[in-house]
């Protein structure tokens, strides 16, 4: 009993955080989503009005398309890149700890303002990237002022922050028994064959975990696109999270923004549920059948 009380005390900060900073706003946002609350006036109940408006709003639908496009590009690219680097860093190389730290730094920097400014400079019309490709005779690419260019820039920024997925992959790779590789090698298996036949199947739970986490993060992405490209040309990088922010804090339609938040939440839940439904077909747990 005493232990359980101490345990409770230990998790109290987390518990308080989740109740007051997550669950309370979560439920409150649902309530607000049925009102026309605008921060200043007292809210009026509007029923499903905000939700109906959202479905009719072409801008909202366009932000959903941009968000889905962003998620489809970033998640597989980021996971593939993270796995590739983790695979290399799993070898016993000289100075490996330095490389592991170096590759994790972009994740620490993330989408902060300094990085955003740097990123804009890199991809501007006369920025480093265009100057670099100009050396090879290529024409400058309008990275920031063309819809596809702007999307590429924010996708690259996200993929660049692969550190956390990489660390989780690295831990999973270390757990793959070496005997399996040795046995495969004796049977004449190449490294590539072993990678796809041994490594990948054994780390599928980690791939699944990273996939769910990165998918949820990508759907909620805000900082990078907001700071680097904003809406982008023709709203190409206007993600749903930014649409929610604009409606809440620029136009002060808190009810409308809350409804959009809830719709996004439902979409994320639905995609997560679909991923969980597919895991029986491709994720192999070591305790399977126990």
């Amino acid at each position: 009993m005493k232990h359980s009380k101490i345990g409770l005390l230990y998790i109290l900060p987390w518990l308080a955080g989740i109740i007051f900073l997550t669950l309370y706003p979560f439920v409150n946002a649902l309530v607000i989503s049925f009102t026309d609350y605008n921060l200043v006036r007292k809210p009026n109940f509007v029923g499903f009005g905000n939700y109906i408006d959202l479905f009719r709003n072409a801008d909202f639908r366009s932000t959903l398309t941009a968000t889905i496009k962003y998620t489809i590009f970033t998640v597989p690219l980021q996971l593939s890149f993270a796995l590739f680097i983790a695979y290399i860093l799993n070898f016993q190389l000289k100075g490996i700890n330095f490389y592991r730290t170096a590759y994790y730094i972009p994740s620490l920097l993330g989408g902060n303002v300094a990085v955003a400014v740097l990123w804009r400079f890199l991809f501007q019309q006369d920025g480093f990237i265009n100057r670099f490709i100009g050396i090879f005779g290529a024409a400058p690419i309008p990275w920031l002022s063309s819809p596809n260019g702007a999307m590429s820039v924010i996708v690259l920024l996200k993929v660049w922050q692969f550190g956390s997925s990489m660390l989780i992959f690295l831990a999973a790779l270390k757990d793959v028994p070496q005997e399996l590789y040795e046995a495969a090698s004796v049977d004449g298996s190449s490294r590539l064959y072993s990678f796809f036949r041994i490594t990948i199947p054994l780390i599928t739970p980690t791939i699944f975990f990273n996939l769910v986490m990165q998918m949820v993060n990508a759907f909620q992405e805000f900082n990078g696109p907001y700071l680097v490209t904003g809406r982008g040309p023709l709203n190409a990088t206007y993600l749903t999270s930014m649409y929610i922010y604009d409606n809440a804090f620029k136009f002060f339609n808190m009810g409308y923004a809350s409804a959009a938040s809830w719709l996004l939440f439902i979409i994320i839940m639905a995609v997560t549920a679909i991923l969980f439904a597919t895991q029986n077909k491709w994720v192999f747990y070591s305790d399977e059948g126990n």
């Binding site: 609350y37 921060l39 023709l234």
Partner: protein, 449 residues
């Protein structure tokens, strides 16, 4: 397996839910009282003062605060809360609604109506007229800060939209005399683009500034009437779109594409923009409030800013520009020390020493005492003096308090962008602007009726 699935789903749900935690909490009741600073144990009154601006404004204001604090040591201590030009209204609205607004606030002119439609949104400044000297202001001008007969905010000065050009860049391009007409601007743009095909003569934070400049001259009316009704038709918006696009194609006005590439998507001050500093943009279409910042960034590089004569469109019914009261100052209705706050306002807005320290970083002052102090200190010289003269002489239409609603500007920029990128015709873009403005206008009229 089942347990693992349930736990996993819960984790995903909590993660997804966590995004809802941002920005969606509500506080529908009156702003919380007692959150402003009060007296500390030593009896010293603690006040905070919020403002926005560029570095020059921050430095000047901090100097004024320091001098005020020194002069009132042990009695009043003011702490500054500076911020940049970004997300102004988001920040203000959140603090206002959360009851955490500063004791002394910088308030944009439209917010006076928005946050105090009934005259109760801010502290009633008539209560401190024995401390703050309102006689330094034109009584008509003070009306901009009144709601329902109550003095809610003190307007700082008049902001006038004008063309401010990098005179040195024009001279380098071989143009000795600044353009006076749009045809002369087109000719000048040819000279500039010969040297740098990516250069533009005028950059503006939003297409809307140029569009309203044109539509005011075309119709002789401001965008909204006194009863908040719309003055422009769909056809007017179409003309404005075509007019601007023609000038953007001629590199007179910055194209939307170039703006996105070099500035961003949002309407922001151009003073710190690299392309403006380097002469890639040879001028700005902005409020006089920012002229000192623009002039300073150019002078730091050895270039000189000059105010150009207002160009007039063919067949103009009005040969001027638009104006608005620049920012205003209010005291929080929740402030525990409104008298001390009024004392501070008196210092920075009317006192010879305070106004001298505040300088011209907020544009033209309206207070007679402040203007006299700045003149005596030799601060109203050069481009700043030109700005005073320009403000005094320009024919203006004052814009409506609902003018700066973000949805209006958004509708202009978004639909001009579609038009310029070839995603919509001028007719469709004009209809989209007209519809968006009509919809928001109807809501605002209902709200403020």
């Amino acid at each position: 397996m089942g347990m693992r699935k349930t736990t996993g789903m819960m984790c995903a749900a909590i993660l997804a839910a966590s995004m809802l935690a941002t920005g969606c909490s509500s506080k529908t009741a009156e702003p919380a009282k007692g959150e402003t600073a009060g007296k500390d144990a030593g009896g010293e009154v603690a006040l905070n003062f919020s403002w926005w601006g560029n570095d020059d404004r921050h430095q000047a204001t901090q100097k004024a605060i320091d001098a005020f604090n020194t002069a009132h040591a042990g009695k009043i201590k003011v702490t500054g809360e500076p911020s940049g030009f970004g997300n102004l209204e988001e920040t203000f609205a959140t603090r206002y609604a959360g009851g955490t607004a500063a004791d002394i606030m910088t308030v944009n002119y439209p917010w006076v109506l928005q946050y105090s439609p009934d005259g109760n949104g801010f502290y009633d400044l008539d209560q401190v007229k024995d401390i703050f000297d309102f006689s330094q202001y034109d009584p008509e001008f003070l009306k901009f800060g009144q709601r329902a007969g109550k003095m809610q905010a003190i307007p700082y000065g008049q902001n006038t939209l004008g063309f401010y050009l990098n005179k040195s860049a024009f001279e380098r391009a071989g143009i000795k005399e600044l353009p006076k007409t749009f045809d002369e601007y087109k000719k000048a743009a040819e000279a500039f683009t010969k040297a740098d095909p990516n250069s533009y003569l005028i950059v503006s934070p939003t297409f809307r500034f140029a569009a309203i400049y044109y539509l005011q001259q075309k119709t002789g009316k401001g965008e909204f009437a006194d009863d908040l009704s719309m003055n422009y038709t769909q056809e007017d918006y179409k003309d404005a779109l075509i007019w601007y696009k023609d000038l953007a194609d001629a590199h007179v006005f910055c194209s939307r594409k170039d703006y996105i590439e070099n500035v961003g998507n949002e309407p922001v001050s151009i003073a710190q923009n690299a392309k403006f500093i380097n002469g890639g943009y040879a001028g700005v279409l902005e409020w006089t409030g920012g002229i000192a910042s623009n002039a300073k960034t150019l002078s730091d590089k050895g270039d000189q800013l000059a105010i150009a004569p207002l160009p007039v469109i063919d067949g103009a019914k009005f040969e001027g520009t638009m104006a608005k009261p620049s920012l205003t100052f209010a005291i929080s209705k929740d402030s525990k020390n409104p008298k001390a706050a009024a004392e501070f306002l008196q210092y920075i807005l009317n006192d010879p020493e305070g106004t001298k320290l505040m300088g011209s970083t907020r544009g033209m002052v309206a207070s007679k005492a402040a203007k006299a102090s700045l003149e005596a200190d030799g601060q109203i010289t050069g481009v700043v003096k030109d700005a005073y003269d320009f403000t005094a002489n320009a024919k203006v239409i004052n814009n409506s308090p609902i003018f700066e609603n973000a949805k209006f500007t958004d509708a202009y920029d978004k639909n001009y962008e579609k038009f310029e990128f070839g995603q919509s015709s001028a007719d469709d873009a004009a209809k989209a602007i007209f519809d968006a403005i009509s919809e928001e206008n109807a809501k605002l009229k209902q709200q403020y009726k």
